[in-house]
Amino acid sequence: MSRLDCEGVRELLPAWQDRELANGEASAVAAHLSGCGGCREDEAALLRAWNAFRARRFGARVPDALGANPYAQPSWPVPLLGWVGLRGGFAAACAFAALAFATRPRACSQAPKAWSPAVEIAAFRDLGAAELVVAADPAPEPVLTFR
């Protein structure tokens, strides 16, 4: 190989190592290297320097300030607070309110009758009570005894 050929190949060596040559050029470089010790040495020196440069970079420690991912999304419940989540929550709240309204305890149509001894006595008479004793004060509330 002539010096010009070697010079041409050496110009291509970085791109050859980076796999950026077209097939024809890559084959030509490989063929030249197989028969040229000087270019092989040059290729090896290029690679050593490049590996040293890259190794120096990978030795750099990434500071803790960058370790925590500020863009990581918590799994619960923040995603549900998005627009879709808010709409769904609103619909669920409406459905719950409608259900609660439909099943609410109804007020009695008739007011409860006030307790009356006369009414109770009449009821006991209907049952055939022989004697009815009404406890007097100081009982805290009326007591009816059925005998």
């Binding site: 050496r10 110009e11 291509l12 060596l13 970085p14 791109a15 980076d18 950026e20 040059d42 020196a45 290029l46 050593r48 320097a49 490049w50 040293a52 440069f53 890259r54 190794a55 120096r56 970079r57 990978f58 030795g59 750099a60 420690r61 990434v62 500071p63 300030a65 960058l66 991912n69 500020p70 863009y71 990581a72 999304q73």
Partner: protein
């Protein structure tokens, strides 16, 4: 776009790129945070014509280039661009490759350092580099070749026998 996943996948790479370009850990952290903040703000306009990594690297590179030009105006002496406080990265660098290697890398020209830093993670091919730097693939190939040969010359003489 799963932006949280994008952050997990690329924040370390963006930080190393920024550290390479700015050579200051605090500024590199700020550049990384700013890169993702800008990307997040523009995520809906990302059309997918380039890869997410190319898009992020372009944002990061532009931010760092702006910072570098501001630093130059603020601190005209070249040595002032380099943090004099040895941080963890610098210590690791020293342990791993030795002071002579670090000193040799400091001698890299700014343009060479930029293009090699963008290429070093393996995320960008020459086409992606062209998108980040607004260069044709042919121009990228020439610049990469020149930068790699200068790197070889710098390291090959003394550091890497």
């Amino acid at each position: 776009m799963d932006f949280a996943q994008l952050y997990d996948d690329y924040h370390a790479k963006v930080y190393r790129l920024a550290l390479d370009l700015l050579r200051n850990e605090d500024e590199a952290v700020e550049a990384t945070q700013e890169t993702f903040r800008r990307a997040y703000a523009a995520r809906r306009s990302f059309e997918g014509r380039s890869s997410p990594s190319t898009w992020l690297y372009r944002i990061a590179y532009n931010w760092c280039a702006t910072q570098l030009s501001r630093n130059r105006r603020r601190q005209p002496l070249p040595e002032d661009l380099v943090s004099t406080e040895p941080g963890p990265a610098a210590r690791a660098e020293s342990q791993e490759l030795g002071g002579r290697l670090a000193a040799s890398l400091e001698a890299l020209e700014e343009d060479d350092r930029r293009i090699l830093s963008l290429l070093a993670d393996g995320e960008l091919d020459y086409g992606g580099l062209g998108e980040v730097l607004d260069l044709s693939v042919t121009a990228v190939r020439m610049r990469v070749c020149r930068a790699r040969r200068r790197l070889r010359d710098l390291l090959g003489r003394e550091v890497l026998p």
